[in-house]
Assembly symmetry: C2
Amino acid sequence: MSKKRNTTLKELSKELSLSISTVSRALNDHPDISQDTKERVRKLAKQMNYVPNLFARGFRSRETHILGVIVPNISHLFTSTILKGILEEAELRGYRVIISESNNNEVKQVEMLNTMTQFGVDGVLMSLARKTTNVEEILKILNRIPIVLFDKVSSKIPCTQVVINEEEAAFNAVEHLIELGKQRIAIIKETENSYNSEKRFAGYLRALNKYGIPVRDKLILSTEDISLGNGRRLTNILLSMKKRPDAIFAITDNAAIGAIKALHKFKVKIPEEIAVVGFSNSINSTIVSPALTTVDQPGDKIGRTAVRFLIEEIESPTNEVNTKTVEIKTSLIVRDSSLMV
Amino acid sequence: MSKKRNTTLKELSKELSLSISTVSRALNDHPDISQDTKERVRKLAKQMNYVPNLFARGFRSRETHILGVIVPNISHLFTSTILKGILEEAELRGYRVIISESNNNEVKQVEMLNTMTQFGVDGVLMSLARKTTNVEEILKILNRIPIVLFDKVSSKIPCTQVVINEEEAAFNAVEHLIELGKQRIAIIKETENSYNSEKRFAGYLRALNKYGIPVRDKLILSTEDISLGNGRRLTNILLSMKKRPDAIFAITDNAAIGAIKALHKFKVKIPEEIAVVGFSNSINSTIVSPALTTVDQPGDKIGRTAVRFLIEEIESPTNEVNTKTVEIKTSLIVRDSSLMV
DNA sequence: AAATAAATTGCAAACGTTTGCACAAACGTT
DNA sequence: AACGTTTGTGCAAACGTTTGCAATTTATTT
């Protein structure tokens, strides 16, 4: 059970009567080494099942080929889809991935960032904890290693950011409702300064503006925690109004599903009386009935793209700051909750 | 942007006019060092923002304090809940976690296991790919480092295994249906030699036996891929029978939801005509209507437990093989799909 | 044949940490 | 005063790899 030691360069070199350095260079395909020697070395290496000790290597060259990932909540479906993309792309490019969860705790988030750099990761992919306000510490670390933000990002951090076209996606969703003939469109969004929520809200406003529909404050509802339960609760409020809305745009599938449940309870016809649109295309959106119209966000593409940019920065470092924002296109998936005949 | 170097022991030692080894020992709270020195060292270390180079350490002591995790599919909700538990418990105990996805591919699974040991992880937590049959390679690696299996396990691999009480959980679920007065209980399960499926099937059989209910082959349906779509398809078959079942036990929430969808379509009353029970307590089970009765598996507890056993094996290695199986208790959550008044 | 260039290979240092051992000082015991 | 003991500290080796430079061999040129 005790950890058996791996074959080392030294053992190979002894076996072949070569020096350690020659063996090392042969395996790394260094041009100074003759073809002949290279083949002999490679053959024996394979035979003796040689694998380089990554710690010695990382230790020596301060390159670990490890990427750190920090996300608020790993069991959120959208997040785990992104992680899937990250894992796949990283593996493809010969990087390994360490994952941590911040639990939406800003302090913990910085702590993890520190541990990771201390650990020697080559770069970090990060989705910010809700209400990340103090970016000081993050900026400090950004001076030392490249960071790429995705999904929950912040304009206060000058680095590459990979997001979906939140504003446009929301615009499209609301435009869809308007084209259906809806005029009193309510929105259920987040209170706090959440990047995603604000962008989506902006899209909502732009759509109303474009079609000359007045913005009614009463139809703009916010909640701290954009959950199913709160979606239900806010919808109840909407239903108690003298003039009910004729559509609800919830910036989250869960909240939208909560809305549907509430509407169901009060026997409101969906979508005839009130149409509902969500955001995320989570599995649930097809399970609820009526099936939910929603915005599909290609999580794995976000993950892959983020990895690609991060590795690029790692492998060809420049002294300029990278501040580009990459937008991944989403698409509106129309289902029964907004399908009028 | 270039990787700035961290403070090293050498720098600390120079500053304090002490030897490197004294500083090292002071920071590791070695009893040989005087309290006075320890405090001076610690103070300066903090001030100079010293962090040990984990690579040098891991390299030296061949202990990395990294755990490897291999799962079939990270974006499966139950899996990511387990991961959450793993991450939390590991962090608590000062271990870091590397996660890989096997995509249910046996070859890839072994490959990852190899890369991880090569990488120097102290131990591996693994949930097996479906249809893992060739355990040769895994056994080889088990000789070198401790492995703990969870969720998808195999009796062919002599190591600690953390599972839920699959058989009993299924038994309870079916017993619940019987107590409801159901007599023709169908089961939707997996075809291939899946550990979970077989255990659950065994529980199903035991429940029928206990109550003297004949086992009818026609009511035992299997599918390769236990998905929502296949749940729906198999339910359609059940509905086409001359004598329909009066209950369906699907060994997966998704399949159960497929069943509900099919029943819905044919306007079969749930649970009066046919009751439905699933397995997993995924979020969806509360979103479908009627809400699904299902078995709650405490994912994070599984994760935490697995980590605990693994670390124990790492930190106090014995030469005996560890083959205990730890069962985590589940509970049946009764909802509308089987709630009769 | 001598001189130079090119192709291979080896030596040795370096990376930052831990740890067995040796050493020195201070103390207590005969 | 001589001897052990205890306490605190430093020396130096080791972990496995990479890499600048030197050394050797071989090929090419004059």
